[in-house]
């Protein structure tokens, strides 16, 4: 295990930012810390890096107990949401910083910086100041700077959070490819479930200072440990006693199937290749319940001849992921 966090608790006043958190992250993987804002993701990442200290619990990096080590001694690369560039240094100088501190010979520094700038596609910007770069370029520079010291682990706190949607998408794909090339153990924080699902080998879901679930994107999506994880990783809707994903609701235009819920289509929306329905269940089966959301492929909807106001019967699809709905209010 590359990073071993054991029973870490961090309080601000009476408030538990982290409450007895334990996770172990294997070497060489790309892990996402995913969860809603304020859940404690940054706090955990900063404690791993030594930028904050835990009230109790331990952190080990590559088998060394790092709990009491200052950030300088942890050999961790950290990338901040707002880039944290050294404004008065050129791009090349920024990247060289960690190496110069380690008294690396000049020629060696030059060679490494050249390689790294190549890696992050910034070679032609070596002599510019960070203020002359776009946000995405600055973040790539920050990444090269962190990688320069060959860190044992690379930690990124919402690295694409300050970028616009298009650049964010490009950079997350690029990060994935970079990781496949460099293989350094990487942990990145995000509140965007799509970003986590797309990029990470493993996802740690954190909410209210606790770990809700750890698993691969597929595991989390298909076997959510609880209502929270299910809700956070994708859309959910409620059908009778269970909660499930809208695309796991089967629609039929005739009654007959055991346990089906009759209702009427109150909204119908075509979005690209899929059709989104809202179905209001008959009062005798579910009085006062929210309408059920259903997503089905367009061809399927056409086959059933669905229209606004059609009567339909809903069932949970075979093999659908369901969790018991919380007690209705």
């Amino acid at each position: 295990m590359s990073i071993e966090v054991t029973n870490v608790t961090k309080k601000y006043g009476d408030f538990h930012a982290l409450d007895d958190v334990s996770v172990s992250l294997p070497t060489g993987q790309l892990t996402a810390l995913l969860g809603p804002s304020g859940g404690g993701k940054s706090t955990l990442l900063r404690i791993i890096a030594g930028l904050d200290t835990a009230d109790s619990g331990t952190v080990a990096i590559e088998g060394t107990n790092a709990t009491k080590l200052p950030p300088q001694k942890r050999n961790v690369g950290f990338v901040f949401q707002h880039y944290a560039v050294f404004k008065h240094m050129t791009v090349a100088k920024n990247v060289a910083f960690g190496l110069e501190i380690r008294k690396t010979p000049k020629a060696e520094v030059k060679r490494r910086v050249g390689e790294l700038l190549e890696l992050v596609h910034l070679s032609q910007f070596a002599d510019r100041l960070p203020s002359q770069l776009s946000g995405g370029q600055r973040q790539r520079m920050a990444l090269a700077r962190a990688l320069a010291v060959e860190p044992t682990v690379l930690l990124l706190d919402e690295p694409f959070g300050a970028l616009d949607a298009k650049v964010r998408k490009e950079l997350r794909e690029w990060l994935r490819r970079l990781h496949d090339e460099v293989h350094v153990t990487t942990v990145f924080v995000t509140h965007d479930q799509e970003e986590a699902m797309e990029v990470a080998d493993e996802i740690v879901v954190i909410n209210q200072g606790r770990v809700e679930q750890v698993g691969s994107p597929d595991e989390l999506y298909d076997e959510p440990a609880n209502d929270f994880v299910m809700g956070f990783l994708g859309e959910v809707t409620r059908l009778g006693p269970v909660r499930l994903r809208p695309h796991d609701v089967d629609v039929s235009v005739e009654p007959g199937r055991a346990g089906s819920f009759p209702g009427r289509i109150t909204r119908l929306l075509r979005v690209g290749f899929e059709v989104r329905l809202q179905v209001e269940l008959d009062p005798e089966v579910a009085s006062g319940a929210e309408p059920v959301s259903v997503v089905l492929p367009r061809s399927h909807a056409r086959g059933l001849d669905l229209e606004l106001g059609s009567r339909v019967w809903l069932t949970a699809a075979v093999g659908a992921v369901t969790v018991p709905a919380m007690v209705a209010v």
């Binding site: 930028l51 950030p71 300088q72 008065h88 100088k93 501190i101």
Partner: protein
């Protein structure tokens, strides 16, 4: 531009013109007069010394005000401005009371060149504190953390990351502090005693020229001080560019 000309350029030109009234040799005579030279040396020397002290102390005080937490910090923050707020002659009286013949703290520095330095230090202290403080407050904490996780010690972080960001503010404050110091009058006349060749500063010398009706001499000295101030400001600017580009 008109406003600037009215306020600055025209009076400056007038001084230079007046100083030229008695021709080049008159000019040189005035300047190289022993008593004048002594006053110029004292003023420029003490101003440079005080500015140097301010660079260190002012930065330190700004640092403490921004980064440290201690009892009475808010009060110190207000106290710093007192030399600004005090009419300079009142400052002179305060200093005379504290460091004069009847000094309650046993430091009788009246009529020595220490008195000059003390008065200058007192009135120029706020300049660097007040230019550096806001810059320090605005510094991005992430940047220091990034440097720390790259292995930089606290000293290295200060030297390579924080200081270069402060240099423009420090030099701006230093220029203000120097300019004020070479022109200071009110706060030091009382304590320094204005002894020719020992504690007489340029502004006092200029005043006595004027009292004797020799406006041209006064203007000659004034224009020389103007040149000194300009040179210092340019030099500081060059230093600032060098240092903040180096990284």
């Amino acid at each position: 531009m008109t406003w600037f000309s009215l306020l600055v350029l025209i009076p400056l030109t007038a001084i230079v013109a007046t100083s030229a009234e008695r021709g080049w040799s008159g000019y040189v005579d005035t300047i190289t007069n022993d008593q004048t030279m002594a006053a110029i040396q004292l003023t420029v020397g003490q101003a440079a010394l005080v500015t140097g002290v301010n660079i260190v102390m002012g930065t330190l005080i700004a640092w403490v005000l921004v980064r440290d937490r201690f009892f009475g910090k808010r009060i110190l923050d207000v106290v710093i401005d007192i030399p600004f707020a005090l009419p300079t002659i009142v400052a002179g009286l305060v200093l005379l009371g504290l460091y004069g013949n009847n000094s309650p703290i046993g430091l009788d520095w009246a009529y020595t060149d220490r008195a000059v330095m003390l008065a200058l230090a007192f009135v120029t202290l706020p300049f660097i504190v007040r230019t550096v403080q806001p810059v320090l407050e605005e510094l991005d904490h992430d940047v220091e953390e990034a440097a720390a996780s790259l292995g930089a010690s606290r000293l290295t972080i200060f030297r390579r990351i924080i200081l270069p960001s402060l240099v423009p503010a420090i030099t701006a404050g230093a220029a203000l502090s120097f300019a004020r110091a070479i022109a200071e009058y009110g706060s030091l006349v009382l304590l320094s005693g204005n002894k020719p060749f020992s504690t007489e500063v340029v502004s006092v010398r200029v005043l006595s020229f004027i009292e004797n009706g020799s406006t041209a001499s006064a203007a000659a000295v004034a224009s020389l001080m103007l040149a000194v101030a300009l040179v210092v400001i340019v030099v500081l600017d060059v230093i600032q560019r060098r240092v903040s580009r180096r990284g």
